[in-house]
Point group: C3
Chain length 158, copies 3
């Protein structure tokens, strides 16, 4: 029986997203099953920048939709962001050390079969629609998450 | 045998508190046992605004007691708080999407039998007394937490 | 069979480091095996202030190495740091309540046999060398972490 990794991705920051995606990719490489459940700010990792719309949104939903990063590469750092300078530095350091960019880790996770699910309640509150997310993202409830996580060998809240 | 969820609530932010309480309520609805252990900033979720006192507190303890949110609805957002504007927006969006306010999730958790415990060491350091907390909160040690969490099916540090 | 605690230490903040080290020390006291895996900002907890070097570092690596806290006691608070005043207050409150300083918790963890490992990829990206860490720290991969964590009874991402 294969091992399972379950990540509840709550944060919407570049460095935490990178940590989660490195774990997800690595887990798939050693044949673990991987589930990622995106809630709240974590939803900002899996919006598709080409599919965003302001249709059917309230004023507040439009503000949130437009003030937040539209794709994973736009996420800020959780520390030392310095209006983007810290993040630019980190991205340069990733290049210098031949580490792939964060989009590659996200694509890798998708290609390797990491299951991506978006929290239904968070979507409802923030006004994000299912068709604004990457194609591979399914909507799921907190109960779905708990069911799945309770059968995993590792559960992380990131 | 029922499944168990164990949450170590370290953060004192509105959005993280909401995530934790949604999980706790949902877990009870699908018959999971739920334990929440409040440490450090997490203690700010379970102080009773009507029971706070400055008696027997040192200067520093008084400063902490008075500079921090006195009840769960006063917690700031972890991101985009913008001096309270971001949080006000989120609360409006919760209303618009018929999501109950955070106090309702806290009351719901209590009514559904979620076990609430406050970290003894954190209380000692921050100068919070047992009778400043909600009635349902018991003081417990880190060892108590570890004992309980090691028997849970899901452990999250939030 | 003894129980096991596995901590993925991602954050580089004083309060979160303290929480992690209190858990690690307590777990050892009740005979749990403890593994701590330091990634990203978490690496700042286990650099040895006396062993830091700028040799063989790129410009960006030098900036990161020098702008970040050089030892665990220099870490900032995750909230209410107020340019160090909040942290100073917390440290005073720890003294007043006879709580040992954070360095004592780190030394305690080492003396009690907590296993400390630093994430290889994070070291590569940030330019930290193995011999800049405390003697007890070993370099390990994300796969090593996943292997170990999947056998633990409690996994926390801090």
């Amino acid at each position: 029986m294969g091992k399972k990794l379950s990540i509840l991705m709550f944060s919407g920051e570049f460095d935490k997203a990178l940590a989660a995606l490195v774990l997800a990719n690595t887990a798939r490489e050693i044949d673990m099953e991987v589930n990622m459940f995106f809630a709240f700010w974590g939803l900002l990792l899996v919006r598709d920048p080409n599919k965003l719309t302001d249709e059917d949104k309230t004023i507040y939903e439009k503000i949130i939709a437009n003030l937040t990063p539209k794709g994973i590469e736009e996420l800020p750092l959780s520390r030392m962001n310095f209006a983007g300078i810290g993040k630019m530095m980190l991205e340069e350091m990733m290049k210098e050390s031949d580490t792939p960019p964060i989009e590659a880790f996200l694509k890798g996770a998708i290609n390797k079969g990491v299951k991506l699910r978006a929290c239904k309640l968070s979507c409802k509150v923030m006004g994000f629609k299912e068709d604004e997310f990457l194609d591979q993202v399914e909507i799921a409830t907190a109960a779905d998450y708990l069911d799945e996580a309770s059968m995993a060998d590792i559960q992380l809240f990131i």
